[in-house]
């Protein structure tokens, strides 16, 4: 299909402006990252670590703790932002969000099931065990996505209400499954489980960070080819198919992408809500509704938001650390309410 996203209706002057926006967003992100490196329970001085060799501990903290953590926050935030932008494009609805619609909790429930029940599967090699969780999360997310797509179109096409109510129902169903898993879990499994429901970036290490970077890069390149088609989708399904868009194929591609990105985030950091709702909104306010710009910018803002939230989570109550999911919810829930207030005309 689309080998390259052609310049659909864009003058040169416009793209210069967008380039400037990208540059500003990137600079802000990098600055924030550099600031975040300094902040933490142990003070780190850049010059010290670069020059002196006796600052072993500082250097260890910098390279093995802070840097992977900060990169991890950016990468996870970016995948959440991308997943959010894709979901909103797919459902043609600015209130759609993988978290609110139950995709993330679907992934978390499958992961919870895997934590509790995989103990019984002795025949799986220990090396493969690491992958059970992400795989289970992906399956869970994918299942919820397909279910949502079917249900939401069957209930009331294009209605905000129908979609959000479907999300509530799925969230409730999935919560029951998580509850069942934690009821059946032993003490150690329970501790692992509580990690999912709150969300934390504490598990960051270079292996996961580099893996997520590859995943994100792949997802970004892949979705770049879908952006123009997502634009066409916002004209309505019938118009999109009149314009030559293979709806079924496009929908499947977006769904798999959303499920994949949400599952990756959930598998390694648990449930982190609202980033995927807010990031595309900020992007849309800044560059307008064209998905060719909204998608990459959502990634940048998702990364930035989660970095800020995680830095707060690390530093507000030193030496203790608050799960970052609490911060994103504190930030996101009022934002969501304000969006609802704006949308109230279309709700009924």
């Amino acid at each position: 299909m689309h080998q390259s996203a052609p310049l659909h209706g864009h003058s040169k002057n416009m793209s210069n402006q967008t380039m400037l926006l990208y540059a500003i967003a990137l600079i802000v992100l990098i600055t924030m990252a550099l600031v975040a490196v300094i902040l933490g329970p142990v003070e780190i001085n850049y010059l010290n670590t670069l020059s002196a060799h006796d600052a072993l501990m500082e250097s260890y903290i910098l390279w093995q703790v802070r840097l992977p953590r900060i990169l991890f926050a950016i990468v996870i935030g970016a995948s959440l932002g991308l997943a959010g932008a894709l979901t909103q494009g797919l459902f043609r609805n600015p209130l759609a969000d993988p978290g609110l619609l139950g995709v993330s909790s679907g992934a978390a429930a499958a992961a919870a099931g895997a934590i509790v029940f995989s103990g019984a599967w002795d025949w799986i090699m220990p090396e493969l065990r690491v992958w059970i969780l992400p795989c289970a999360a992906f399956c869970g997310a994918l299942l919820v996505c397909f279910l949502l797509d079917r249900l939401a179109r069957w209930l009331s096409p294009g209605s905000v209400m129908g979609l959000l109510l479907t999300g509530i129902a799925i969230n409730a169903l999935v919560a029951a499954f998580i509850g069942l898993s934690s009821y059946l879990a032993n003490d150690e499994q329970l501790r692992n489980l509580s990690f999912w429901t709150m969300g934390s970036l504490a598990g960051a290490n270079w292996m996961i960070v580099s893996l997520m970077m590859i995943v994100l890069l792949g997802a970004f390149i892949y979705t770049q080819r879908l952006t123009v088609q997502i634009n066409a989708l916002s004209l309505g399904e019938s118009v999109a198919s009149q314009l030559g868009i293979n709806l079924k194929q496009l929908r499947q591609r977006i769904i798999v992408m959303v499920a994949f990105l949400s599952a990756c985030a959930v598998a390694w950091c648990g449930m982190i809500g609202f980033i995927s709702l807010i990031a595309p909104h900020i992007a849309r306010v800044i560059v307008g509704p064209d998905h060719r710009q909204v998608l990459p910018l959502s990634m940048l803002f998702g990364g930035l938001l989660l970095l800020i939230a995680d830095t707060l989570a690390r530093t507000v109550a030193i030496p203790a650390e608050i799960p970052v999911g609490i911060f994103t919810a504190l930030l996101g829930a009022p934002f969501f309410l304000s969006l609802l207030a704006k949308q109230r005309k279309t709700m009924i």
Binding site: L233, L235, G236, G244, L247
Partner: protein, 279 residues
Amino acid sequence: MNKDQTILSLKDASLKHASLKKTSLKRLSLKAHINTLGPFSIDIKSNERIAILGPSGAGKSTLLQIMSGLHEHDGGIEFLSKPIKQMSVQELSYKRAFLAQHHETAFNLSSELIISLGRVARDHDPELVTIIKESAKAAQAEHLLERSYQTLSGGEKARVHLARVFAQLWDQQNGLLLIDEPMTALDPGLQIELLSSILTYCQDRSHTLVAILHDIQQAIEHFERLILIKNGKIIADLPSHPAPHRELECLYSMRLEKLTRPGRKDLLIPSDPGCSQAI
């Protein structure tokens, strides 16, 4: 392509129920109603201008939907001498454009972007920027390019979508343009302007035009063939000249007065006794 060659042919074609969009809460009654629409059989020649007339609910839109080839259907449809089922939506979109009556956009896209989406199915489109400009000019939407969709009035929205449809078949010949009462909401002056730009557009490119119209006079004046639909059946399929006085009266169940004008096509106006007295 030969002028007399058939571009689209329907043989007992009707919509399959499963593919219907659920627009009504009363799905059962909708289904029962749809059952009586069709099947339709028509041969459309290349370069023809056809108007579909009929009272509301008669099945005009259903017929146009069937012609668009996007819905599952019973019976046979051939487009450009190929069974339409074998063509991909992408392939179809190169040769067939559709302008619907109502439009919705989810996000507040700019007019320029909406028009550019007319060519979204093309992988490589070097002429894109020129085509957007030209088709906007043809649809008198050139001044709207920078505006965002939600700030447009009804008439301006219609022009932007018309430009989108123009862009879709801009560099094609012998295509098919399907139009579903696009001008109902517009004021009379604009209606005539847009209709004439549609007609010129089709004539320049030998596109076949099939339009659902409300206005009998527009149909007689500008289209060469009329398809009259009532209760889900084609009751007449005839040339627009001489004006089919009796058939149209029967179609709308009302009386029409025929005024012959030397050198021009006949004029048909509703002649309700009550009306004429009031004047």
